[in-house]
């Protein structure tokens, strides 16, 4: 694992000193730390959990690792546990959470060793670039629209178009608004994708074809594709592969 040498160095420091690098008290942080100074027993349990988490990562059991690192951090507030939590989130593709966890690490543990802070900033930038973003255009002004991504409600601070972050993968987005039929979109988002989604919602009991805007959009699409089609129509050859790697079924 990249950064393993860095993490082991941190772990050794924590284990040898027997104290936390810094403990994080209750805050709006994504991952809560201890409420007060950890006891020796809590530190001991935190070290054991950290060891279990590391073992789980090396055995390809990331879910167990995440639980162990989270619990270790909650007991000790040790930056190494939070760093490992962020790193493991990144490995399993939970890029938004990984980015936010790196942010918490850099914000709440300002006494990180420079090399570790530098690595954390680098990884943070890397995972931030992998977060996909949907820009929802055309949300209705009336009907108090609510947006769900994979069943979870998306916060709407009122900006338009509304920006929705997502980890890569197949995603389902649904928009509900009073007086309108629901709008649903399903698509595969790649890492770092930036897509604009035109939310077209039919009024209940009406039809989108009643809208003049619909016919204007169709007209524009016909004009565009007609031009493209005119070029391709006169190419009567079979399609030829355009890359050096070719498979014929």
């Amino acid at each position: 694992m990249r950064g393993t040498a860095v993490r082991k160095g941190l772990l050794a420091t924590v284990l040898a000193a027997g104290v936390c690098a810094a403990w994080a008290g209750p805050s709006e942080a994504q991952w809560p730390g201890p409420r007060g100074e950890p006891t020796e027993a809590e530190l001991g349990e935190a070290r054991e959990l950290y060891r279990q988490g590391t073992e789980a990562v090396e055995s390809h059991r990331p879910s167990e690792a995440l639980a162990a690192f989270e619990r270790s951090y909650a007991l000790s507030g040790a930056s190494v546990a939070l760093y490992s939590l962020a790193y493991t989130l990144q490995v399993v593709g939970r890029y938004r959470e990984a980015r936010d966890t790196f942010d918490q690490l850099l914000r709440e543990h300002r006494d990180l060793e420079p090399s570790i802070a530098s690595e954390a900033r680098r990884l943070r930038a890397e995972v931030a670039g992998r977060v996909a973003r949907l820009s929802l255009a055309g949300l209705p002004e009336e009907g108090e629209p609510t947006v769900l991504l994979d069943g979870e409600r998306v916060p709407d601070p009122g900006e338009r178009p509304l920006s929705v972050e997502s980890d890569p993968g197949l995603r389902v987005l649904r928009v509900d608004a009073s007086g309108f039929e629901p709008f649903t979109w399903r698509g595969e988002l790649a890492a770092g994708d930036r897509l604009t989604l035109d939310v077209i919602m039919n009024p209940l009991g009406g039809s989108i074809t009643d809208s003049a805007l619909f016919w204007l959009a169709i007209g524009a699409a016909v004009l565009t594709t007609g031009v493209i089609t005119g070029v391709i129509l006169y190419d009567n050859a079979q399609l030829a592969p355009r890359s050096a790697h070719h498979i014929t079924l």
């Binding site: 890569p168 790649a190 770092g192 989604l197 594709t225 050859a237 592969p241 890359s243």
Partner: protein, 172 residues
């Protein structure tokens, strides 16, 4: 609307070819240890990923750590319109023939529909997992790609490649 090869204004950018090509872009992870290659196999129709695929529909020797495009061609009318299954394995050899490559870390991709006669379509797999060491059991991940997420027959980029009646642009 059915397409025609006559010089008339049509509503879709399809030509007069009988075959179809899916251009699959792979953002391959970095090599790790002895694992240096991605071995790609494809099959059309309803297939069992658990079976050992052999025969045609393969390309080997894709070096890890690069972006690569693989052109997958369907020239049989039965294959066009069928689902497409893709196996990608990370191996120490170009065709996963070494003992160390059994088992191998694997990504399985199931595409609801990849081909439309006379059209180029495209998908991009940019979130492939990194290479991780494995011994007796190796990670197997699956990706499912629905037909409206397969790019094609529309200039530029759009969020979805089906119209409001859920027909793919390449079917118009």
């Amino acid at each position: 609307m059915k397409h025609s090869c006559a010089p008339l204004l049509l509503l879709a950018a399809v030509g007069c070819a009988d075959n179809a090509i899916l251009e699959m872009e792979l953002v391959l992870p970095e090599a790790s240890g002895d694992v240096r290659y991605a071995y790609v196999q494809t099959r059309s129709g309803e297939v069992d990923f658990e079976d050992a695929w052999s025969g045609s529909g393969e390309v080997d020797g894709l070096e890890l750590g690069q972006d690569v495009i693989v052109s997958i061609e369907a020239d049989d009318s039965e294959e066009i319109g069928e689902p497409l299954a893709i196996k990608l394995r990370y191996c120490t050899t170009e065709r996963c023939t070494a003992p160390a490559d059994e088992p191998a870390q694997e990504v399985r991709v199931a595409i609801e529909r990849a081909f439309y006669r006379g059209a180029f379509t495209r998908i991009r797999l940019a979130d492939l997992p990194p290479v991780t060491a494995c011994a007796e059991t190796c990670e197997v991940q699956r990706r499912d790609i629905e037909r409206c997420a397969v790019r094609g027959c529309r200039a530029g980029d759009t969020t979805r490649y089906c119209d409001s009646e859920d027909r793919h642009f390449c079917e118009q």
